[in-house]
Protein backbone atom coordinates (compact mmCIF):
# COMPACT_ATOMS: atom_id res chain seq x y z
CA UNK A 1 0.00 0.00 0.00
CA UNK A 2 1.27 3.43 -0.88
CA UNK A 3 2.13 5.35 2.25
CA UNK A 4 1.40 8.90 3.34
CA UNK A 5 4.92 9.51 2.13
CA UNK A 6 6.13 7.18 -0.53
CA UNK A 7 9.50 6.74 -2.20
CA UNK A 8 9.95 4.66 -5.37
CA UNK A 9 13.19 3.68 -7.04
CA UNK A 10 15.07 6.65 -5.63
CA UNK A 11 18.68 6.96 -6.80
CA UNK A 12 21.48 9.42 -6.21
CA UNK A 13 25.11 9.24 -7.24
CA UNK A 14 27.85 11.59 -6.07
CA UNK A 15 30.46 11.21 -8.76
CA UNK A 16 31.16 7.50 -8.81
CA UNK A 17 29.59 6.88 -5.39
CA UNK A 18 26.09 5.41 -5.31
CA UNK A 19 24.83 7.17 -2.17
CA UNK A 20 21.24 5.94 -2.61
CA UNK A 21 20.38 3.06 -4.93
CA UNK A 22 16.85 2.10 -6.04
CA UNK A 23 15.30 2.69 -2.64
CA UNK A 24 11.58 2.09 -2.09
CA UNK A 25 10.11 3.25 1.20
CA UNK A 26 6.60 3.85 2.47
CA UNK A 27 5.78 5.79 5.59
CA UNK A 28 2.31 4.56 6.51
CA UNK A 29 0.17 7.05 8.37
CA UNK A 30 0.70 6.75 12.12
CA UNK A 31 3.48 4.18 11.76
CA UNK A 32 6.89 5.09 13.17
CA UNK A 33 9.72 3.95 10.93
CA UNK A 34 13.39 3.83 11.89
CA UNK A 35 16.12 4.06 9.27
CA UNK A 36 19.01 2.00 10.51
CA UNK A 37 22.38 1.35 8.96
CA UNK A 38 26.08 2.00 9.35
CA UNK A 39 27.63 5.41 8.80
CA UNK A 40 27.67 6.38 5.16
CA UNK A 41 24.74 4.10 4.33
CA UNK A 42 22.85 6.95 2.69
CA UNK A 43 20.27 7.68 5.39
CA UNK A 44 20.80 11.44 5.50
CA UNK A 45 20.99 11.56 1.72
CA UNK A 46 17.62 9.81 1.57
CA UNK A 47 16.16 12.57 3.78
CA UNK A 48 17.78 15.20 1.58
CA UNK A 49 16.20 13.61 -1.50
CA UNK A 50 12.75 13.41 0.09
CA UNK A 51 12.80 17.04 1.23
CA UNK A 52 14.07 18.42 -2.07
CA UNK A 53 17.46 19.46 -0.71
CA UNK A 54 19.06 17.27 -3.36
CA UNK A 55 17.48 16.37 -6.68
CA UNK A 56 17.49 12.60 -7.34
CA UNK A 57 19.01 11.08 -10.47
CA UNK A 58 15.87 9.01 -10.83
CA UNK A 59 12.89 7.81 -8.84
CA UNK A 60 9.87 9.54 -7.36
CA UNK A 61 8.66 10.90 -4.04
CA UNK A 62 4.98 11.41 -3.31
CA UNK A 63 3.35 13.05 -0.31
CA UNK A 64 -0.29 12.12 0.28
CA UNK A 65 -0.48 10.89 -3.31
CA UNK A 66 0.95 14.07 -4.86
CA UNK A 67 4.25 13.83 -6.73
CA UNK A 68 6.82 16.18 -5.20
CA UNK A 69 9.97 15.03 -7.01
CA UNK A 70 11.84 18.10 -8.25
CA UNK A 71 9.79 20.52 -6.16
CA UNK A 72 11.77 23.03 -4.11
CA UNK A 73 12.43 22.35 -0.40
CA UNK A 74 10.14 25.09 0.89
CA UNK A 75 7.24 23.81 -1.21
CA UNK A 76 7.67 20.27 0.11
CA UNK A 77 7.92 21.64 3.65
CA UNK A 78 4.61 23.41 3.23
CA UNK A 79 2.94 20.10 2.37
CA UNK A 80 3.51 19.13 6.00
CA UNK A 81 6.93 17.52 5.87
CA UNK A 82 9.23 18.75 8.65
CA UNK A 83 12.77 17.60 9.20
CA UNK A 84 15.66 17.97 11.58
CA UNK A 85 19.32 18.01 10.57
CA UNK A 86 22.03 15.78 11.89
CA UNK A 87 24.07 18.96 12.56
CA UNK A 88 20.90 20.75 13.80
CA UNK A 89 21.29 23.97 11.75
CA UNK A 90 19.64 26.17 14.33
CA UNK A 91 19.31 29.88 13.65
CA UNK A 92 22.31 30.53 15.87
CA UNK A 93 22.22 34.27 16.46
CA UNK A 94 18.46 34.33 17.01
CA UNK A 95 16.67 33.70 20.28
CA UNK A 96 15.12 30.36 21.10
CA UNK A 97 11.68 31.86 20.71
CA UNK A 98 12.51 33.44 17.33
CA UNK A 99 13.99 30.14 16.13
CA UNK A 100 10.61 28.50 16.61
CA UNK A 101 8.57 31.48 15.39
CA UNK A 102 10.66 31.83 12.23
CA UNK A 103 10.07 28.16 11.51
CA UNK A 104 6.32 28.70 11.13
CA UNK A 105 6.28 32.02 9.28
CA UNK A 106 6.06 31.29 5.57
CA UNK A 107 5.08 34.63 4.05
CA UNK A 108 7.91 36.01 1.92
CA UNK A 109 6.54 39.56 1.96
CA UNK A 110 7.13 42.20 4.62
CA UNK A 111 4.23 40.84 6.66
CA UNK A 112 2.49 37.52 7.24
CA UNK A 113 -0.95 36.72 5.85
CA UNK A 114 -3.89 36.13 8.16
CA UNK A 115 -3.68 39.22 10.36
CA UNK A 116 -3.90 39.28 14.16
CA UNK A 117 -5.72 36.00 14.60
CA UNK A 118 -3.09 34.09 12.66
CA UNK A 119 -0.35 35.89 14.56
CA UNK A 120 -1.84 34.92 17.92
CA UNK A 121 -2.18 31.32 16.71
CA UNK A 122 1.50 31.28 15.76
CA UNK A 123 2.50 32.73 19.11
CA UNK A 124 0.42 30.11 20.91
CA UNK A 125 2.05 27.36 18.84
CA UNK A 126 5.49 28.68 19.78
CA UNK A 127 4.69 28.86 23.50
CA UNK A 128 3.26 25.37 23.46
CA UNK A 129 6.25 23.94 21.57
CA UNK A 130 8.67 25.59 24.00
CA UNK A 131 6.74 24.32 26.97
CA UNK A 132 6.60 20.75 25.70
CA UNK A 133 10.31 20.72 24.96
CA UNK A 134 11.15 22.28 28.32
CA UNK A 135 12.65 25.43 26.80
CA UNK A 136 10.19 28.08 28.02
CA UNK A 137 12.63 29.49 30.55
CA UNK A 138 15.22 29.91 27.78
CA UNK A 139 12.91 31.67 25.31
CA UNK A 140 15.08 34.77 25.25
CA UNK A 141 18.45 33.03 25.14
CA UNK A 142 20.27 32.87 21.84
CA UNK A 143 20.55 29.46 20.22
CA UNK A 144 24.37 29.61 20.25
CA UNK A 145 24.29 29.98 24.03
CA UNK A 146 22.35 26.77 24.69
CA UNK A 147 23.76 23.54 26.08
CA UNK A 148 24.01 20.49 23.84
CA UNK A 149 20.80 18.86 25.02
CA UNK A 150 18.97 22.17 24.79
CA UNK A 151 19.98 22.60 21.15
CA UNK A 152 18.66 19.12 20.40
CA UNK A 153 15.32 19.99 21.99
CA UNK A 154 15.19 23.29 20.15
CA UNK A 155 15.52 21.45 16.87
CA UNK A 156 12.53 19.36 17.90
CA UNK A 157 10.60 22.43 19.09
CA UNK A 158 10.91 24.01 15.65
CA UNK A 159 9.37 20.91 14.10
CA UNK A 160 6.72 20.55 16.78
CA UNK A 161 5.45 24.08 16.23
CA UNK A 162 4.99 23.58 12.49
CA UNK A 163 2.14 21.13 13.05
CA UNK A 164 3.60 19.02 10.24
CA UNK A 165 2.03 15.58 9.68
CA UNK A 166 5.32 13.97 8.76
CA UNK A 167 8.51 14.28 10.81
CA UNK A 168 11.88 13.23 9.47
CA UNK A 169 14.34 13.17 12.38
CA UNK A 170 18.06 12.75 11.66
CA UNK A 171 19.81 11.27 14.72
CA UNK A 172 17.77 13.45 17.10
CA UNK A 173 18.81 11.62 20.27
CA UNK A 174 22.53 11.14 19.63
CA UNK A 175 24.64 12.16 22.60
CA UNK A 176 21.73 12.82 24.96
CA UNK A 177 22.07 12.01 28.66
CA UNK A 178 19.65 9.45 30.08
CA UNK A 179 17.15 11.97 31.42
CA UNK A 180 17.06 13.98 28.18
CA UNK A 181 16.84 10.81 26.16
CA UNK A 182 13.77 9.68 28.10
CA UNK A 183 12.16 13.07 27.69
CA UNK A 184 12.85 12.87 23.99
CA UNK A 185 11.27 9.44 23.67
CA UNK A 186 8.19 10.67 25.52
CA UNK A 187 7.99 13.70 23.25
CA UNK A 188 8.00 11.57 20.10
CA UNK A 189 5.41 9.22 21.60
CA UNK A 190 3.12 12.17 22.32
CA UNK A 191 3.49 13.37 18.74
CA UNK A 192 2.74 9.92 17.36
CA UNK A 193 -0.32 9.68 19.60
CA UNK A 194 -1.43 13.03 18.18
CA UNK A 195 -1.30 11.58 14.68
CA UNK A 196 2.18 12.45 13.44
CA UNK A 197 3.93 10.01 11.11
CA UNK A 198 7.57 9.78 12.20
CA UNK A 199 10.62 8.51 10.38
CA UNK A 200 13.79 8.64 12.40
CA UNK A 201 17.42 7.86 11.74
CA UNK A 202 18.79 6.43 14.94
CA UNK A 203 21.89 4.51 15.95
CA UNK A 204 20.77 3.65 19.45
CA UNK A 205 18.92 0.36 19.03
CA UNK A 206 17.22 0.74 22.42
CA UNK A 207 15.55 3.92 21.24
CA UNK A 208 14.68 2.22 17.97
CA UNK A 209 13.02 -0.62 19.85
CA UNK A 210 11.13 1.79 22.07
CA UNK A 211 9.80 3.99 19.29
CA UNK A 212 9.77 2.18 15.97
CA UNK A 213 6.97 0.03 14.54
CA UNK A 214 9.10 -0.76 11.51
CA UNK A 215 12.76 -0.71 10.58
CA UNK A 216 14.22 -0.09 7.16
CA UNK A 217 17.82 -1.25 7.01
CA UNK A 218 20.17 0.60 4.67
CA UNK A 219 23.70 -0.26 3.68
CA UNK A 220 25.85 1.32 0.96
CA UNK A 221 22.87 3.17 -0.44
CA UNK A 222 20.60 0.16 -0.79
CA UNK A 223 17.69 -0.95 1.37
CA UNK A 224 18.68 -4.46 2.45
CA UNK A 225 15.64 -5.26 4.54
CA UNK A 226 12.48 -3.86 6.01
CA UNK A 227 10.13 -5.22 8.63
CA UNK A 228 9.18 -5.46 12.29
CA UNK A 229 11.97 -4.39 14.64
CA UNK A 230 12.14 -7.77 16.35
CA UNK A 231 12.68 -9.58 13.06
CA UNK A 232 15.28 -7.14 11.74
CA UNK A 233 17.23 -6.96 14.97
CA UNK A 234 17.36 -10.75 15.19
CA UNK A 235 18.88 -11.13 11.72
CA UNK A 236 22.52 -12.03 12.35
CA UNK A 237 23.64 -10.92 8.91
CA UNK A 238 22.18 -7.41 9.33
CA UNK A 239 23.55 -7.07 12.82
CA UNK A 240 26.98 -8.07 11.56
CA UNK A 241 26.81 -5.34 8.90
CA UNK A 242 25.50 -2.87 11.43
CA UNK A 243 28.35 -3.49 13.83
CA UNK A 244 30.88 -3.17 11.09
CA UNK A 245 31.70 -6.73 10.12
CA UNK A 246 31.79 -6.22 6.40
CA UNK A 247 30.67 -8.85 3.98
CA UNK A 248 33.31 -10.01 1.49
Amino acid sequence: MQGLLSVRGLEKHFGGLAAVQKVDLDLQEGVTTALVGPNGAGKTTLFNLITGNIVPDSGTVTVAGAAVTGRRPHEIARLGVARSFQDLRLFGRMTVRDNVLAAIEHGAWFWQPGGGAARRAREAAVESALERTGLSHLAKARAVDLSYAETKFLSVARILATGARIWLLDEPASGLDLNSRNRFVALVREAVAAGVTVCLIEHNLDIVTELADRIAFLDRGAKLAEGEPAAILRDPELIAIYFGERRP
Partner: protein
Amino acid sequence: MIAYLLNLATLATVFGILAASLNLLIGYAGIFSMAHAVFFGLGAYAGAQIAMLLVPDVLLACLAAAAVAGLLSLCLALPALRVRGEYFVVASLGLQMVAITVFSEAHAVTGGHGGLVGIPPATLFGLNIGDPGAFLLVCLAVLALVLLGIRVLMRGSFGRSLMAIRDSESAAKAFGKDVPRIKTLAVGLGCALAGVAGALFAFYMAFVNVESFTLEQSVLVMAMVIIGGTATLAGPLIGVLLLLLLPAGLSFLTFIPPTEIGAVQQFIYGLAMTLLMIFRPAGIAGLSTGRR
Protein backbone atom coordinates in the same frame (compact mmCIF):
# COMPACT_ATOMS: atom_id res chain seq x y z
CA MET B 1 32.75 76.81 12.79
CA ILE B 2 28.93 76.43 12.66
CA ALA B 3 29.12 75.87 8.92
CA TYR B 4 31.80 73.25 9.49
CA LEU B 5 29.69 71.42 12.08
CA LEU B 6 26.59 71.60 9.89
CA ASN B 7 28.57 70.12 7.04
CA LEU B 8 29.84 67.29 9.21
CA ALA B 9 26.38 66.62 10.64
CA THR B 10 24.73 66.51 7.21
CA LEU B 11 27.34 64.16 5.78
CA ALA B 12 27.06 61.97 8.87
CA THR B 13 23.29 61.82 8.44
CA VAL B 14 23.49 60.91 4.75
CA PHE B 15 26.12 58.27 5.47
CA GLY B 16 24.01 57.09 8.38
CA ILE B 17 21.21 56.26 5.94
CA LEU B 18 23.70 54.61 3.60
CA ALA B 19 25.28 52.51 6.36
CA ALA B 20 21.90 51.53 7.79
CA SER B 21 20.85 50.33 4.34
CA LEU B 22 24.02 48.26 3.93
CA ASN B 23 23.49 46.83 7.41
CA LEU B 24 20.21 45.40 6.14
CA LEU B 25 22.22 43.36 3.64
CA ILE B 26 25.33 42.53 5.66
CA GLY B 27 23.97 42.35 9.17
CA TYR B 28 20.52 40.90 8.75
CA ALA B 29 20.62 39.07 5.43
CA GLY B 30 24.27 37.98 5.51
CA ILE B 31 24.81 39.34 1.99
CA PHE B 32 28.31 40.87 1.88
CA SER B 33 27.95 43.35 -0.95
CA MET B 34 31.04 45.23 -2.11
CA ALA B 35 28.92 47.25 -4.54
CA HIS B 36 26.85 49.42 -2.23
CA ALA B 37 28.34 52.66 -3.56
CA VAL B 38 26.89 51.75 -6.96
CA PHE B 39 23.35 52.08 -5.64
CA PHE B 40 24.28 55.20 -3.71
CA GLY B 41 25.48 56.52 -7.08
CA LEU B 42 22.41 55.42 -9.02
CA GLY B 43 20.26 57.27 -6.51
CA ALA B 44 22.47 60.35 -6.71
CA TYR B 45 22.30 60.47 -10.52
CA ALA B 46 18.56 59.78 -10.56
CA GLY B 47 17.89 62.43 -7.91
CA ALA B 48 20.11 64.95 -9.66
CA GLN B 49 18.43 64.36 -13.02
CA ILE B 50 14.96 64.78 -11.52
CA ALA B 51 16.09 68.02 -9.84
CA MET B 52 17.70 69.38 -13.00
CA LEU B 53 15.11 68.31 -15.56
CA LEU B 54 11.86 68.35 -13.56
CA VAL B 55 11.62 69.93 -10.12
CA PRO B 56 14.17 69.97 -7.31
CA ASP B 57 11.65 68.43 -4.92
CA VAL B 58 13.41 66.25 -2.32
CA LEU B 59 10.54 63.85 -1.88
CA LEU B 60 10.14 63.25 -5.60
CA ALA B 61 13.89 62.91 -6.09
CA CYS B 62 14.17 60.44 -3.21
CA LEU B 63 11.30 58.34 -4.54
CA ALA B 64 12.79 58.30 -8.04
CA ALA B 65 16.21 57.45 -6.62
CA ALA B 66 14.74 54.60 -4.57
CA ALA B 67 12.90 53.26 -7.60
CA VAL B 68 15.94 53.35 -9.89
CA ALA B 69 18.34 51.87 -7.33
CA GLY B 70 15.75 49.33 -6.18
CA LEU B 71 15.00 48.11 -9.70
CA LEU B 72 18.61 47.91 -10.79
CA SER B 73 19.42 46.04 -7.59
CA LEU B 74 18.22 42.96 -9.46
CA CYS B 75 21.72 43.04 -10.96
CA LEU B 76 22.95 42.33 -7.43
CA ALA B 77 20.12 40.01 -6.41
CA LEU B 78 20.88 37.63 -9.24
CA PRO B 79 24.38 36.70 -8.03
CA ALA B 80 23.20 36.88 -4.40
CA LEU B 81 20.75 34.09 -5.13
CA ARG B 82 23.07 31.93 -7.17
CA VAL B 83 26.36 32.02 -5.32
CA ARG B 84 27.26 32.17 -1.68
CA GLY B 85 29.90 33.63 0.58
CA GLU B 86 33.20 34.59 -0.94
CA TYR B 87 31.91 33.96 -4.49
CA PHE B 88 29.26 36.58 -4.03
CA VAL B 89 31.83 39.05 -2.69
CA VAL B 90 33.78 38.60 -5.93
CA ALA B 91 30.61 38.90 -8.04
CA SER B 92 29.66 42.16 -6.30
CA LEU B 93 33.20 43.46 -6.80
CA GLY B 94 32.76 42.79 -10.50
CA LEU B 95 29.47 44.65 -10.50
CA GLN B 96 31.15 47.60 -8.76
CA MET B 97 33.83 47.72 -11.47
CA VAL B 98 31.35 47.44 -14.33
CA ALA B 99 29.21 50.18 -12.80
CA ILE B 100 32.14 52.58 -12.49
CA THR B 101 32.87 52.12 -16.19
CA VAL B 102 29.23 52.74 -17.05
CA PHE B 103 29.08 55.80 -14.78
CA SER B 104 32.22 57.19 -16.46
CA GLU B 105 31.02 56.55 -20.02
CA ALA B 106 27.30 57.30 -19.91
CA HIS B 107 27.80 61.04 -20.38
CA ALA B 108 24.18 61.74 -21.24
CA VAL B 109 22.96 60.52 -17.84
CA THR B 110 25.92 60.87 -15.50
CA GLY B 111 27.98 63.62 -17.11
CA GLY B 112 30.90 61.20 -17.35
CA HIS B 113 34.03 62.06 -15.37
CA GLY B 114 33.00 65.71 -15.20
CA GLY B 115 29.82 64.69 -13.40
CA LEU B 116 26.58 66.60 -13.06
CA VAL B 117 27.11 70.23 -12.12
CA GLY B 118 24.60 72.80 -10.94
CA ILE B 119 22.03 70.70 -9.15
CA PRO B 120 19.48 73.27 -7.95
CA PRO B 121 18.85 73.81 -4.21
CA ALA B 122 16.30 71.45 -2.74
CA THR B 123 12.64 72.24 -2.20
CA LEU B 124 9.94 70.35 -0.37
CA PHE B 125 6.34 70.87 -1.50
CA GLY B 126 7.46 74.17 -3.04
CA LEU B 127 9.22 75.33 0.14
CA ASN B 128 12.87 76.21 -0.23
CA ILE B 129 14.96 74.00 2.03
CA GLY B 130 18.25 74.89 0.40
CA ASP B 131 19.86 76.45 3.47
CA PRO B 132 22.16 74.10 5.39
CA GLY B 133 20.15 74.08 8.61
CA ALA B 134 16.85 73.24 6.95
CA PHE B 135 18.44 70.60 4.75
CA LEU B 136 20.06 68.94 7.76
CA LEU B 137 16.65 68.73 9.41
CA VAL B 138 15.19 67.06 6.33
CA CYS B 139 18.08 64.57 6.23
CA LEU B 140 17.65 63.83 9.93
CA ALA B 141 13.94 63.23 9.36
CA VAL B 142 14.71 60.78 6.55
CA LEU B 143 17.30 59.01 8.71
CA ALA B 144 14.78 58.71 11.54
CA LEU B 145 12.17 57.28 9.17
CA VAL B 146 14.65 54.81 7.70
CA LEU B 147 15.81 53.65 11.13
CA LEU B 148 12.24 53.31 12.34
CA GLY B 149 11.29 51.36 9.23
CA ILE B 150 14.25 49.02 9.59
CA ARG B 151 13.52 48.51 13.28
CA VAL B 152 9.89 47.61 12.66
CA LEU B 153 10.72 45.29 9.76
CA MET B 154 13.60 43.55 11.52
CA ARG B 155 11.56 42.91 14.65
CA GLY B 156 8.83 41.40 12.54
CA SER B 157 8.55 38.27 10.48
CA PHE B 158 10.57 39.69 7.58
CA GLY B 159 13.54 40.30 9.85
CA ARG B 160 13.23 36.83 11.35
CA SER B 161 13.14 35.31 7.87
CA LEU B 162 16.26 37.21 6.84
CA MET B 163 18.18 36.28 9.97
CA ALA B 164 17.07 32.67 9.68
CA ILE B 165 18.42 32.56 6.12
CA ARG B 166 21.61 34.24 7.30
CA ASP B 167 22.11 31.68 10.07
CA SER B 168 21.14 28.58 8.07
CA GLU B 169 19.81 28.82 4.57
CA SER B 170 19.05 25.11 4.26
CA ALA B 171 17.10 25.08 7.53
CA ALA B 172 15.15 28.17 6.44
CA LYS B 173 14.14 26.33 3.27
CA ALA B 174 13.25 23.21 5.23
CA PHE B 175 10.85 25.34 7.25
CA GLY B 176 9.01 26.65 4.23
CA LYS B 177 10.82 29.90 3.48
CA ASP B 178 10.94 31.04 -0.13
CA VAL B 179 14.59 32.05 0.14
CA PRO B 180 15.11 33.61 -3.32
CA ARG B 181 12.10 35.86 -2.91
CA ILE B 182 13.03 36.99 0.57
CA LYS B 183 16.63 37.69 -0.47
CA THR B 184 15.55 39.60 -3.56
CA LEU B 185 13.25 41.72 -1.46
CA ALA B 186 16.00 42.45 1.06
CA VAL B 187 18.46 43.41 -1.66
CA GLY B 188 15.83 45.60 -3.32
CA LEU B 189 15.00 47.38 -0.08
CA GLY B 190 18.62 47.85 0.98
CA CYS B 191 19.60 49.24 -2.41
CA ALA B 192 16.53 51.48 -2.66
CA LEU B 193 17.47 53.05 0.67
CA ALA B 194 21.04 53.51 -0.57
CA GLY B 195 19.47 55.34 -3.50
CA VAL B 196 17.63 57.67 -1.12
CA ALA B 197 20.92 58.49 0.58
CA GLY B 198 22.38 59.16 -2.88
CA ALA B 199 19.63 61.64 -3.80
CA LEU B 200 20.15 63.57 -0.55
CA PHE B 201 23.90 63.54 -1.16
CA ALA B 202 23.41 64.96 -4.67
CA PHE B 203 21.28 67.84 -3.39
CA TYR B 204 23.69 68.58 -0.60
CA MET B 205 26.80 68.64 -2.77
CA ALA B 206 24.97 70.35 -5.69
CA PHE B 207 27.42 68.33 -7.79
CA VAL B 208 28.00 64.62 -8.25
CA ASN B 209 30.58 62.65 -10.13
CA VAL B 210 31.83 59.11 -10.29
CA GLU B 211 34.54 59.73 -7.66
CA SER B 212 31.94 59.40 -4.89
CA PHE B 213 30.76 55.96 -6.02
CA THR B 214 33.97 54.01 -6.29
CA LEU B 215 35.09 50.81 -4.64
CA GLU B 216 36.80 52.90 -1.93
CA GLN B 217 33.40 54.32 -1.00
CA SER B 218 31.87 50.81 -0.88
CA VAL B 219 34.70 49.67 1.36
CA LEU B 220 34.33 52.73 3.60
CA VAL B 221 30.60 52.09 4.11
CA MET B 222 31.26 48.43 4.78
CA ALA B 223 33.89 49.42 7.34
CA MET B 224 31.37 51.73 9.02
CA VAL B 225 28.86 48.90 9.37
CA ILE B 226 31.34 46.29 10.52
CA ILE B 227 33.23 48.51 12.94
CA GLY B 228 30.02 49.95 14.38
CA GLY B 229 28.32 46.60 14.72
CA THR B 230 26.24 44.56 12.30
CA ALA B 231 22.60 43.63 12.87
CA THR B 232 22.06 46.41 15.40
CA LEU B 233 20.33 49.73 14.85
CA ALA B 234 22.98 51.89 16.51
CA GLY B 235 26.03 50.06 15.13
CA PRO B 236 26.14 51.61 11.66
CA LEU B 237 25.61 55.09 13.14
CA ILE B 238 28.48 54.63 15.57
CA GLY B 239 30.62 53.44 12.67
CA VAL B 240 29.68 56.49 10.60
CA LEU B 241 30.53 58.88 13.41
CA LEU B 242 33.87 57.22 14.08
CA LEU B 243 34.94 57.04 10.47
CA LEU B 244 33.76 60.53 9.56
CA LEU B 245 35.08 62.14 12.71
CA LEU B 246 38.41 60.38 12.44
CA PRO B 247 39.66 62.42 9.46
CA ALA B 248 38.22 65.59 11.02
CA GLY B 249 40.00 64.82 14.27
CA LEU B 250 43.25 63.95 12.58
CA SER B 251 43.30 67.31 10.83
CA PHE B 252 43.58 68.93 14.28
CA LEU B 253 46.74 66.97 15.00
CA THR B 254 49.10 69.54 13.53
CA PHE B 255 52.17 67.35 13.87
CA ILE B 256 50.89 65.11 11.07
CA PRO B 257 51.74 66.70 7.73
CA PRO B 258 48.52 67.21 5.70
CA THR B 259 49.89 65.12 2.87
CA GLU B 260 50.22 62.13 5.20
CA ILE B 261 46.75 62.29 6.74
CA GLY B 262 45.32 59.95 4.09
CA ALA B 263 47.91 57.30 4.84
CA VAL B 264 47.49 57.62 8.61
CA GLN B 265 43.73 57.31 8.17
CA GLN B 266 44.03 54.16 6.06
CA PHE B 267 46.36 52.71 8.64
CA ILE B 268 43.97 53.39 11.50
CA TYR B 269 40.94 51.98 9.63
CA GLY B 270 42.81 48.86 8.73
CA LEU B 271 44.17 48.33 12.20
CA ALA B 272 40.76 49.00 13.78
CA MET B 273 39.05 46.46 11.53
CA THR B 274 41.66 43.81 12.17
CA LEU B 275 41.61 44.32 15.95
CA LEU B 276 37.82 44.36 16.01
CA MET B 277 37.53 41.11 14.12
CA ILE B 278 39.88 39.54 16.65
CA PHE B 279 38.44 40.96 19.86
CA ARG B 280 34.88 41.97 19.05
CA PRO B 281 33.71 40.38 15.80
CA ALA B 282 30.15 41.64 16.17
CA GLY B 283 31.37 45.27 16.16
CA ILE B 284 31.33 47.96 18.81
CA ALA B 285 27.56 47.91 19.32
CA GLY B 286 27.28 44.18 18.62
CA LEU B 287 26.40 41.51 21.11
CA SER B 288 29.35 39.85 22.71
CA THR B 289 30.04 36.43 21.28
CA GLY B 290 28.35 33.43 22.78
CA ARG B 291 29.91 30.45 24.38
CA ARG B 292 30.58 28.94 20.99
